[in-house]
């Protein structure tokens, strides 16, 4: 029995078997429903308060910046869909890397702002460093149980992997923290003090936070 409820569909792609269970479906539904909000609305107008003459000012985003950001937001969304549905630990880490990468790009492609570049650089550093715990954790899980598939890992008795598996889980958690956990922090730092790009900050928050709810399910699947 999966801790995430009944499994609806399974997509067999060789050794990697993505699946959709009740909890995954809920997460996916939330993701898509909430993502529709920023896609269908323009959050680009804001009031600049000037004491003498209040004025309404449109955000200055060049079409080029908007285009690359839309593309990266799409990648980020697809990556988080993958994170939610994947059925394999290593595949999960790769989707997570894609997610971190595109979120870092969303921050870094802000035009006319050195601080955004600074934040993007540090987010990129975090992603780079996080690849040690991410891949290392997956490798330890593979070594201690002989498989990477969540469907097989779930069938193992509790405590099967011993300390190696426990340590692998700790490393994996640290990796998820570094790759996705700090996303909102850097997004907010750029968002609050510098420029208005609310709709993309929204995407970063959503994808990174929902990653955690999926990761909790993975943690409870592991023996």
């Amino acid at each position: 029995m999966y801790p995430s409820g009944e499994v609806f569909t399974v997509i067999p792609l060789g050794d990697i078997v993505p699946y959709l269970s009740t909890v995954n479906a809920v997460i996916l539904g939330v993701l898509i429903a909430v993502l529709l909000l920023p896609i269908l609305s323009r959050t680009d107008i804001y009031v600049e308060v000037d004491h003498r003459r209040p004025k309404i000012k449109a955000k200055i985003v060049t079409p080029r910046e908007d285009r690359i950001k839309a593309a990266l937001a799409l990648t980020s969304t697809l990556a988080s869909v993958g994170v939610v549905t994947t059925g394999d630990v290593f595949n999960f880490t790769l989707f997570l890397s894609l997610l971190g990468m595109s979120n870092m790009g969303l921050i870094g492609t802000t035009v006319g702002d050195d601080f955004a570049l600074e934040c993007a650089f540090h987010y990129g550093l975090m992603c780079l460093i996080a690849s040690l715990p991410l891949f290392g954790g997956a490798a330890l899980i593979l070594a201690s149980t002989g498989t990477l598939s969540l469907h097989e890992l779930m069938k193992l008795p509790r405590g099967a992997g011993g300390w190696t598996l426990t340590y692998g889980k700790a490393l994996l958690t640290a990796g998820v923290l570094g790759e996705a956990g700090v996303g909102p922090f850097y997004a907010v730092k750029v968002d609050s003090f510098r420029r208005i790009w609310g709709r993309y900050a929204f995407v970063i928050h959503l994808t990174t936070l929902l990653t955690f709810s999926r990761f909790m399910e993975i943690l409870s699947l592991l023996p």
Binding site: V23, L37, V47, L177, S192, A201, L210, M216
Partner: protein, 282 residues
């Protein structure tokens, strides 16, 4: 039958949640030597707002602005339904909580004012509350072997409340309650909500919806805490325990000064790393 149960449960959550929010406010007022509003004030206030006409500022990002309150109510209604009414799986709660954070950011951004935007951003900058939540729910699963509330309650009837087995997880979840309580020192968007909260630009009916969502959220979090960690399953005791928790939270909120945003983030990071180390040692 499920429909009737759900509707009744939601009504109960709304009523109890808003009354306890009023109690929270009253206790804070008494500690600060003010008379404070009547306990039922929050409830009436929400009802009043729900009757009012709604409108949007000229700068609002239309679609997002109108739908954030609706989504907020949907999110917390489903959270209450899944956890409190159906006693189902706890994992969706986490996703719904994350969606709520994102929606608050959306509420701040969509109004088109730089001030509400800062409020929303400040609310969304608090990531570590969720990490503590994740750690506590996962360790609850590891100890009891159940991810659904009904299973955890059954386990607790046999082995005693979970707070004895996982005190740190209980503490983490309690920190979350503390962060999410009104006037909490750990969430800087709360103390400044009159000028730069994410709710500032929401008038009338929309404000009423937001208040409804807040009441549902307060109820839902209190309910999950006392069900998962204290193992209370009897309806009358529920209300008492939740009242006691509310008073405790109010005292904590009243006697602590509000932190600046980065100090708050620092505290969150500290709490989350403690939780992480605890989970590592376990």
């Amino acid at each position: 039958m499920i429909v009737v149960d759900t509707v009744l449960g939601l009504l109960e959550a709304f009523f109890v949640g808003s009354v306890y929010l009023g109690l929270h406010r009253k206790v804070i007022a008494r500690i600060q030597r003010r008379p404070g509003p009547p306990i039922i004030q929050e409830f009436l206030h929400t009802l009043k707002f729900l009757m009012k006409e709604a409108y949007a500022p000229i700068t609002a990002a239309g679609f997002l602005y109108w739908l954030v309150p609706v989504f907020n109510v949907i999110v917390w209604s489903s959270a209450v339904t899944i956890s409190a009414v159906l006693e189902g799986n706890l994992l969706p709660f986490f996703a719904l909580y994350a969606a709520y954070k994102v929606l608050s950011h959306g509420a701040g951004v969509s109004a088109g004012s730089t001030y509400t935007k800062i409020g929303g951003v400040r609310h969304a900058i608090m990531p570590a509350g969720e990490l503590a939540l994740a750690c506590s729910l996962v360790s609850a699963y590891f100890i009891t072997g159940h991810a659904d509330v009904a299973g955890i309650l059954a386990w607790e009837r046999a082995h005693g409340p979970l707070i004895e087995h996982a005190p740190f997880s209980a503490l983490a979840f309690f920190t979350l309650l503390w962060i999410d309580a009104p006037y909490s020192p750990l969430d800087p968007s709360k103390g400044y909500d009159i000028v730069e909260g994410y709710l500032t630009e929401y008038p009338g009916f929309l404000r009423g919806l937001m208040c409804t969502a807040e009441a549902l959220k307060f109820y839902c979090e209190l309910w999950i805490f006392q069900a998962v960690f204290l193992g209370v399953s009897d309806p009358a005791t529920h209300l008492l325990v939740m009242g006691a928790l509310t008073i405790l939270l109010a005292v904590l909120c009243a006697i602590t000064p509000i932190l600046t945003p980065y100090q708050a983030v620092g505290v969150h990071v500290l709490v989350a790393s403690l939780m992480f180390l605890d989970a590592l040692i376990r």
